[in-house]
C-alpha cells in the first residue's frame, strides 16, 4: 500500500462522489458542446474531445475504485486475521472520512479484543488451576466425601470414599445413594432421607451427625457421619455433602479388646466356681467345729469371692453393652420379695463392717412389675455393694421401696462419705470415678453405675442420686408399672 501521497480530504464520501459525478458529466458536456459549435466541420477535434472525455472518465473511475476498494480490501484482510486470532494487523488509512473512521474503529476493536482475550485466557487458566487445586485437596482429604444431587444420586466421590466403600467414581456415578450403600445405626437401618437433611424453612442447612454407623457396600466399614445440604453455584440446585470419618480400624481394635476382656472374664469363672464351691463344702462339713475368728476369716473369703463374681459379671456386662448384646427378658415379679432377698445376700458383708443394713417394708401396696430378674438384681446389688463400700464402719444402709405415679421407686440410702456436687453429673458415665485412682483405694472400676444405668434404661426406668458430702447418698431408680 502506498497511498501516502493521496490528498487528505475532509469532505464526506458522498460529497466526493457527487463532486466527481458533476466533474465527470457537466464539464465534458459543456466542453464538448463548445468545441462542437466552434469546430463543427472539424471531425478530428470532436474525436479529440471524446478521447479527452473518455480519459477523464477512466481517471475518475480509477480514483473512485481506489478510494473505495482499498479500505474495503484492508478491512477484509483485517477481519480475516481476526478470525485467525491474529490481533496484530492494523489498518492504515489516513483519510478522516468514514473509511478513515472505520480503520480507526477496526484498529481499536482489534486492540480491545486482544486485551480481552488475553485477560480471559489468564482467568480461565487460574480457574482451571483452582479447580485442579480443590480436586487435589478433596482427593487427598483423609475423610471420605460423597456429594449427592437433590435426587440423592451420587455425583462425586473422593479417593477416600472410594476406598471406604470399595468402589470407584466411575461405577458409582449416577447411582442412588441408597443402592450404593446400606447404612446402619446400632443395627437399625438408616434411610437416605433420614441421613440427608435439607434446608429448613428459613433456608438454614440442617446438619445430621451420627457416630459409629455401619456401612455395607462392596465391603463393610464403620464411620462417623456428618451430612449437610449443599447449594450448588447459581443457588437454584441443591444437593448433599456427606463426610464419613472412617473408624473401621478403631472398631476392629475395640472388638479385639472386648473379645479379650470377655475371654479373660470367662476364664475367671471356673476358679471362682471352685473357690465358692469349696468354701461351701468346707463350711458345711467343718463349720460346726470352727471358732468365731475362723468363721469371720472364711466369711471374708466368701465376701471377696462374691465381689470377684460381681466384678467378672460387670466386665462381661460391659462387653455385652458394647457389643449391643445385652438383652433383657421381662417376667412378672414380686418386687418386695426380690429386694428383700437381694438385701439378705449382703447381710454378711454389712455385718463384717458393723453396718446396719435394713430393708424398710413399704406401707403402700406395691404393684407387680415386669423385670429381668437377674439383671435388675445386678442393679440392686451394685447399689447396695457401693453403699457398703463407701460407708464407714458402723454406718447405716437402708433400702426402701415407694410407689410413684405409674412407677415403683427403689432407694438405697447410706450414711457414707457422699458425692461432691460437681461429680454427680458424670457419675453414671463409663469409667468415671469420683476421685483419683490413688485416693480411691480399690473401690471400683467405674463400670458399675454405668452398667446400672444401662440396665435401668433398658427397663424404661430412670436412675438418679441425691447426695451431700459428709452426710451420705441416696441412689434411686424407678421401674414402670405394667399396664393391666
Amino acid at each position: 500500500m502506498s497511498n501516502g501521497s493521496a490528498p487528505k480530504s475532509k469532505l464526506p464520501l458522498r460529497a466526493k462522489i457527487i463532486l466527481w459525478l458533476i466533474i465527470v458529466s457537466v464539464v465534458p458536456a459543456i466542453f464538448s458542446t463548445v468545441i462542437t459549435q466552434i469546430f463543427i466541420n472539424n471531425i478530428s477535434l470532436v474525436l479529440v474531445g471524446l478521447i479527452f472525455i473518455v480519459l477523464v472518465i477512466i481517471l475518475v473511475i480509477i480514483n473512485l475504485s481506489y478510494k473505495i476498494t482499498n479500505p474495503l480490501l484492508q478491512l477484509k484482510n483485517g477481519l480475516d486475521s481476526l478470525l485467525q486470532n491474529n490481533f496484530s494487523f492494523r489498518m492504515t488509512l489516513n483519510s478522516q472520512d468514514e473509511l478513515g473512521q472505520i480503520a480507526t474503529s477496526y484498529n481499536q476493536l482489534s486492540t480491545n479484543l486482544n486485551t480481552l482475550i488475553a485477560s480471559t485466557t489468564t482467568n480461565l487458566g487460574s480457574i482451571t488451576l483452582q479447580r485442579d487445586f480443590l480436586q487435589n485437596i478433596l482427593a487427598t482429604f483423609p475423610e471420605a466425601v460423597i456429594v449427592l444431587n437433590s435426587q440423592l444420586v451420587v455425583i462425586f466421590l473422593n479417593t477416600k470414599a472410594e476406598q471406604l466403600l470399595g468402589t470407584n467414581m466411575k461405577s458409582s456415578y449416577g447411582k442412588a445413594i441408597g443402592l450404593l450403600i446400606k447404612v446402619f445405626s446400632s443395627n437399625d437401618p438408616l434411610l437416605p432421607d433420614e441421613y440427608c437433611p435439607t434446608f429448613n424453612t428459613v433456608g438454614q442447612p440442617q446438619i445430621f451427625t451420627r457416630k459409629g454407623i455401619r456401612l455395607v457396600s462392596e465391603k463393610e466399614s464403620y464411620a462417623d457421619l456428618v451430612s449437610q445440604p449443599l447449594k450448588f453455584p447459581g443457588g437454584l440446585q441443591t444437593g448433599h455433602l456427606l463426610t464419613f470419618h472412617d473408624i473401621s480400624d478403631e472398631k476392629h481394635f475395640d472388638e479385639m479388646k472386648l473379645d479379650f476382656v470377655s475371654m479373660a472374664a470367662h476364664e475367671l469363672r471356673t476358679p471362682l466356681t471352685a473357690i465358692k464351691g469349696y468354701l461351701y463344702v468346707f463350711l458345711r462339713d467343718y463349720g460346726p467345729y470352727l471358732n468365731q475368728e475362723q468363721v469371720t476369716f472364711l466369711t471374708r473369703v466368701n465376701i471377696a469371692a462374691q465381689k470377684l463374681v460381681s466384678l467378672v459379671e460387670n466386665l462381661l456386662n460391659i462387653t455385652r453393652i458394647e457389643k449391643k448384646a445385652l438383652v433383657i427378658h421381662l417376667e412378672p415379679i414380686d418386687w418386695i420379695d426380690d429386694v428383700k432377698t437381694t438385701v439378705e445376700e449382703f447381710r454378711d458383708q454389712a455385718k463384717d463392717k458393723r453396718q446396719e443394713l435394713i430393708f424398710v417394708t413399704p406401707t403402700q401396696e406395691i404393684p407387680k412389675l415386669k423385670v429381668d430378674k437377674f439383671r435388675i438384681n445386678e442393679v440392686l446389688a451394685n447399689l447396695i455393694s457401693n453403699a457398703i463400700s463407701y460407708t464407714p464402719i458402723g454406718g447405716r444402709i437402708a433400702v426402701l421401696i415407694e410407689k410413684g405415679d405409674q412407677e415403683v421407686i427403689t432407694h438405697v440410702q447410706d450414711t457414707g462419705e457422699g458425692i461432691p456436687a460437681d461429680a454427680i453429673p458424670h457419675l453414671f458415665n463409663k469409667f468415671f470415678r469420683v476421685s483419683g485412682v490413688l485416693e480411691q483405694g480399690s473401690k471400683g472400676t467405674g463400670l458399675g453405675l454405668y452398667i446400672t444405668k444401662t440396665i435401668v434404661g433398658m427397663h424404661n426406668g430412670r436412675i438418679w442420686v441425691k447426695s451431700e458430702v459428709g452426710k451420705g447418698s441416696t441412689f434411686s431408680f424407678s421401674l414402670p408399672v405394667v399396664a393391666k
Binding site: 470377655s262 470367662h266 469363672r269 471356673t270 476358679p271 471362682l272 466356681t273 471352685a274 465358692k276 464351691g277 469349696y278 461351701y280 463344702v281 458345711r284 463374681v309 467378672v312 462381661l316 455385652r320 448384646a325 427378658h329 417376667e331 437377674f374 439383671r375
Partner: protein
Amino acid sequence: MDSQIGSSTSNTPTADTAKKHVLLIEDEFFIADLYKNILTNAGFEVALAQDGDAGLKLAQGMPKLILLDIMLPKVNGVKILSLLKSDEKTRHIPVILLTNLGQADVIQEAFKIGAQGYLLKMHLNPADLVKYVNDFIANPNLKMDVNSLVLD
C-alpha cells in the same frame, strides 16, 4: 480313661441310690470333684466322666440324669448331646448343661437338640444344684424356658 463310676465316697448309700444315679461329664478336676461331693452328700450316686468319650460310654449305664459341661476334650458337649439324643437307648435321659460358657447361640442350639436345663456354674448355689437335680429326676420331662435364661 480317667473316668470311673464313683459311689464309694458316699458314706451312707441308701437302698434307692439306683434311682438317684447321676452322670456328671466334667473335665475340670476341681469342679468335677466338688459337684460329686455335693451330690454324693445329698444322697445321689454319681458317675464321673472327664471327657466326651468316657461320658458317652457311661451314659450306657442308664443314669437318671446327665449333667453336661460344654467345653470338653475329645468330644464337645453339644456333640455329646446330639449323640445321646440320637441313641434310642439314651435319648430319654434328661440332660442339664452345667457350664461356665453361656454363649447364647451354643445354648440355644443345645436346647434345640434336646437339652432340658442350663445352669451357669459360677452363679450356681450348691444347694440349688441339689434342688434342680431332684426336680429333674422327679419329673424327667421338665424343661427350662430357653428364652428366659440369662445367657452371654
